[in-house]
Subunit: 492 residues, 2 copies
Amino acid sequence: MGKEITSRAQDYSQWYNDLVIKGSLADYSAVRGCMVIKPYGFALWENMRDVLDRMFKDTGHQNAYFPLFVPKSLFEAEEKNAEGFAKECAVVTHYRLKADPNNKGKLMVDPEAKLEEELVVRPTSEAIIWNTYKGWIQSYRDLPILVNQWANVVRWEMRTRLFLRTAEFLWQEGHTAHATAAEAIVETKKMLEVYADFVENWMALPVIKGVKSPNERFAGAEDTYCIEALMQDGKALQAGTSHFLGQNFAKAFDVKFTDRDNKLDYVWATSWGVSTRLIGALVMAHSDDDGLILPPRIAPVQVVIVPIYKGDEQKAQIDEKVGEIVKNLKAMGVSVKYDDSDNARPGWKFAEYELKGVPVRMAIGARDLQNNVVEVARRDTKEKNTVSMDGIEAYVKNLLDEIQTSMFTKARQFRDERITKTDNWDEFVQLLDNKGGFVSAHWDGTAETEDKIKELCKATIRCIPLDNPQEEGKCILTGNPSTQRVLFARAY
Amino acid sequence: MGKEITSRAQDYSQWYNDLVIKGSLADYSAVRGCMVIKPYGFALWENMRDVLDRMFKDTGHQNAYFPLFVPKSLFEAEEKNAEGFAKECAVVTHYRLKADPNNKGKLMVDPEAKLEEELVVRPTSEAIIWNTYKGWIQSYRDLPILVNQWANVVRWEMRTRLFLRTAEFLWQEGHTAHATAAEAIVETKKMLEVYADFVENWMALPVIKGVKSPNERFAGAEDTYCIEALMQDGKALQAGTSHFLGQNFAKAFDVKFTDRDNKLDYVWATSWGVSTRLIGALVMAHSDDDGLILPPRIAPVQVVIVPIYKGDEQKAQIDEKVGEIVKNLKAMGVSVKYDDSDNARPGWKFAEYELKGVPVRMAIGARDLQNNVVEVARRDTKEKNTVSMDGIEAYVKNLLDEIQTSMFTKARQFRDERITKTDNWDEFVQLLDNKGGFVSAHWDGTAETEDKIKELCKATIRCIPLDNPQEEGKCILTGNPSTQRVLFARAY
């Protein structure tokens, strides 16, 4: 009965793939590294997108849309950014196919339709957007520009994983322009807070807010702020980034403005983004060996009701009662599905909705009707209760809130137990090998040390937490003086 | 004062470009044929998208997402479809750039990173989707599949126009799979009705529903249904299409299912789409020489309020009163903007919001406050009225409804006056040259005649209207016998 899921203990990576594919979130496609997001997975993404979009608009941002393609000459204008993405760019070189004379019914690229200038499929849109902003900005009166874009981007990754790392993915990218560095930094931090709010309060996933070390910075940024989450296998996952870009792109694209004192200066920039990768984080952080566990606030279906009956008469009685409950729950803003399809047994349905992570399942049989009760099962703890029909809607609504809180609390406890301080190199390595999670250790602040640590034990600096306490110490690797601990981890 | 707009009489085409660019809907980009959709234009698209998305969901469809790229071998599988789009395909041939050794700081396509198989940037997604459906469909129980995708697509057009014909555009494409031809045809027609409902009742644009002649069919379809609208210059514009694809794609991708009688058969398909082209239609159909005229139901801003004051004291009094009105209008679901910015005079603001097509403008001065009145101007007719503040919100709400109705009625009258019957070839040509609009004439049903007419006078058969009356007649060109009139027009 039901679909077989590899357990976490058996093969964590296969467990993840099983959940994504058998849970109907996504599937592989015929295109290397690209996925198909299935209707159930896309409904989840829509819920996430709609909440974020509201948050962006509430903080004064507007959406716009910029071209998919970036001419090579624009792409290479900001050198660090170009260098950072050059190795993973899909490039359009031709604009026409023609019949292949040597292969009937087949097509070939028409060599006569070669573009004069190659087009890069956007891996990120700073270049095309700052080239556009040049035409929008003359004076401080044109600032700030607070624009966001929901789009697909392409990064030709060699090793891909559904949602976590795909050649094409969906994301949003905010691109703002400001008159002062201070204002741009405020924006950078504000959007980091928006991301943290969303991931913690909607995805039920605790995050650590921090700043990246120079090695891990976005190519072309002055500073990269990030939120870091912890997965069940003890690996960290970067869940969102917000970049202070300084005047780098303004200089590359010659975007100047006249300030209040009538002086010309380059414009200050930020960019910030989260992607469908968040779905991978959601799956890995909360689910169990029976399937997905989705937080109620973003679950495509919050409540599923399954009837248990023999014969049409019982069915009709249950239908009538469920009809009321469905109507009342919908009026309370709860998304509910009544699965009375007759092509599967209740047990099969139970397993299927467990696999799909529906937060609350109700089962109603003929005897339940007589007793005026219903069985309510919560997905996260698997706890089942027989509950009176009277006021069932309020009970369910409260239960959804409780599940949301409880999922966050559980994930936070898991994460907090896995932030470990050490001042000893051997312990540092052992912690990474055995316990996992974040290791809080002193670092001498050099890129060389960071590289060496990565080489020795595959751990990177995930972030320097915001408001990090300053304390004297010695670098975990070199013993050189250090002023603060930073968080190391192996990461996705 | 304000931005200069070319008049329709002077240069219709330039008038259109002026509205799109100066009305802040969109702009040209650095990429040939691709546009930037600006925040105001994108807000309009969001409103249109949200209404359509709700309509699709209410008719049982779910959204999903399929890859941007189509491997050439899949693209060419359905031969007619491939042939139809081959000439306008952007093709990705390489997946990496590298430093150009002869040009410091510049990049070049890395010749060693050539793809084994070229990837076509989707001009439409039947191929990649039907290749995916193959894995989703085994039995009649898996049908129907009712899926829609919101996406960007690329068609390398040689002559582009903002919104109307761009190399990249945004659209939705529905792709459904059915067990029977009859069911697929019902779906095809149902979605045509959804489109007609949306375009007429939300965009205030009357359409003629019909079927395309074989010449104008979607490449790979058995039948293409369409809605055709009329622009102010007398040219027709195809506003949406819904295709019955028969078993063509199922055969090309070998998608079979077991039916109720346990027999194997190919699956039946439909696809249907509307795009950002609709924005072009909206602009061309309703606007005037002073700017855009947007229908209230999809306008990003429905009401703008402009204060007219001298000094802070007057301003404060107006602010207070407007604060109330704004609050009340918002509570009624009206989107309203209070423009009290001090960097432009009222007259400049009036012109700006006329240009942007905001349906209702209110102006409030100090004397108006004393008299408990406000000036209300409607954009479509430019009518102004001085209205009592008492119940002003209900007045405005009603006015928005009236504008919506009135815009539709005006456009329908314009269109109806331009459907002209003729049985005489010279008159046929004269009508196209002088009056414009749709010419209803007999056609002998052959592709040759249709081609010849197009060659002679640039008119195409826009559609054979649904429920077209059958009547004996003679073909307008050849004099051969005909059984019905069809609608000819010059078209965008």
